[in-house]
Amino acid sequence: MSETIQETDTKTTQNTTTTRRVSGSEAILEIFLKEGVETLFGYPGGAIMPLYDVLYHYNDPLKHILVRHEQCSVHAAQGYARVSGKTGVVLATSGPGATNLVTGLADAMIDSTPVVCITGQVFAPLLGTDAFQETDIINITSPVTKWSYQITDAEEIPAVLSKAFYIAASGRPGPVLIDITKNAQVQEFDFAYEKCEHIRSYRPKPVVRKEYVEQAAELINAAKKPMVIFGQGVILGNAEKEFKAFIEKGNLPAGSTVLGLSALDSDHPLFVGMLGMHGNYAPNVMTNECDVLIAVGMRFDDRVTGRLDKYAKQAKVVHLDIDPAEIDKNVKADVPVWGDCKETLPMLTKLIEEKKHTEWVAQFKELAKKEDEVCIKKELYPETDVLSMGEVVRILNEITGGDAVIVSDVGQHQMVACRYAKFTKSKSNVTSGGLGTMGFGLPAAIGAKLGAPEREVIAVVGDGGIQMTIQELGTIMQNNIGVKILILNNHYLGMVRQWQELFMQRRYSFTDIESPDFVKLASAYDITSARVEQRDQLKAALEAMVKHEGSYLLEVKVGRENNVFPMVPQGCSVSEIRLS
């Protein structure tokens, strides 16, 4: 592979790195190797062809996955990043290739996922001339990237790419887009590389202020009814252990956001369930009962808080976050604890007293029992003939033991998967939380399988969402990616239909969706597939899917008009959560 690269042995000023004459494209790929990149998700095209030409020689160290649509390259990179903790890398061409990335970038931005996208661009002299496949991707993506830069000269490549990888993964992670004109890809220059470790205008981690940690500890120690709510920050900060030690010392009941799931074992005695619109009864109700609310690495999304002016008004709020802009954004913090929770949590744990809070924790269990009786039992062990999404997930838990990575799409099945899937390992729940991108599930599962090849990866998707990115079955076929695809088919755009039923007098406006024969379709892609409609065949069908070596598609026909409960209706307070 490096036969094409001439070593010239020019010493740089620091006498540590040598330079050699390479093309911009070679430099990019060499940088990928130095940054530890192993997998690329991409799609070639005119303006990125010089890079793909060199990639031909790098096929061994760099595994390139050809997706079927650029949007899916970002989702795949997201899935990869979310399970592996590494940065996902995407290649796309200019114009439509680049604009197709936008949804993925927006998703990665709002869910803080580290992704570096390289887009080709027309030759620098053609910029602004409306050249073929020219689009102003830097400006188009500005609101949905953490950082972006257009390279027009190969000399810029090392410094800019090292910044890109540093920015994407550090602090609160996010997507970075680097647009590289075609001339810079072919231009030769003296290449040397140093990893970026510092940018003068960028402070990835705010300095922890001890007095705030002390104030937070005082509040927690004085609390009679403390409650913890946690988000993806715990996972992104690799602070699962620190988090567990924190809640265990103070016996603090802890509820999770959708993206925080799997940071704490689902069976942990202090785990009180999921927050928010379709979250569990106890953590929602108790948010408006607790006296101190400790938020860790979460951002008070409106789906979590419900009506803000009736959210935890009785409580003192302690907010731990790495992003200072999140403090006071939606909920005013009485004590803001800026910093990486990997640092702040142990500081806080040290200062808090061991407490039992026996009665307080028991109250959560009481409410959980009520939820179980009124709504969970019905969902997990339905007495009607039609299959429920919940029972599918329950049986899946029994088979996998909570070991699998669950990648969900968006809608009813997503809420059911997040509510009922058991997680025993961190980084096991991959879903589009903030943006709610239908079509996310299948490509993200592809990335997840590549990011964690040793793990079972199950894409739980709906009949609507899968049709948005169903072409990725081709990617699975071509690359033999062993993902399991579980379609929960209710022949509706279920979540929208549920709202129409509950709030729009059952006017089912364009939510009735027909699907192709998924089983036949899968077989056209050479993916083993099956369909199940009867309860007595469900367990065997799920077992067959999990046991199968390689990719597998299982379609389960579930009740058409089942609803997801509990639910906090829009505009209501979290304590107004409805059980049915």
Partner: protein, 194 residues
Amino acid sequence: MKQEYTITVYTEDRVGMVGRLANIFSRRKINIEYLNTAPSEVQGIHRFTIVIQETHEAVQKLVRQIEKQVDVLKAYFHTEEEVIWQEMGLFKVPSDSITEKVKVERLLHEYGARAIAIRKDYIVFEATGHREEIDRLVKFFEPFGLIEFVRGARVAIIKKSTGFHEKVKEFERKQPAENFEINSIPEDQSVFSL
């Protein structure tokens, strides 16, 4: 309650910076009243002065979003009382009408204006001051056939900006130390803490 805020932003001198900052405002449907961007006293660092009408809470959130941008060094916001500011106006007026009917010396004296170009057919006056003073001059010149008027974006000096210049210079001299405190004083922004 909405009031006038002056936002001061130090950024890297980079293509697209205006757009990135402007997005933060437009996304929240906040209109920018004045926007001045120019090189600071240090090469490679730009200083933006942005004036908006907003509530304290909104502007505080906004400034945190601005500061979150990778290429932003530091952002501050101040009320009108906390800054000393000036606007500049240029006025192009026909020479004959103005010299015939007005005592130009009095004009220059009373409004603190200067004549910066004198031609046979027109004179260009310059004045700096607060908005009302510039507006007053527009009104004054109108009856004499004001040909063209332009207002410069507002520039503002922060009353409590102790040590700003030194800090910017220091920034230039060396990369900032790792443990620079950020947002350490959320309300009192008198310390320049890049």
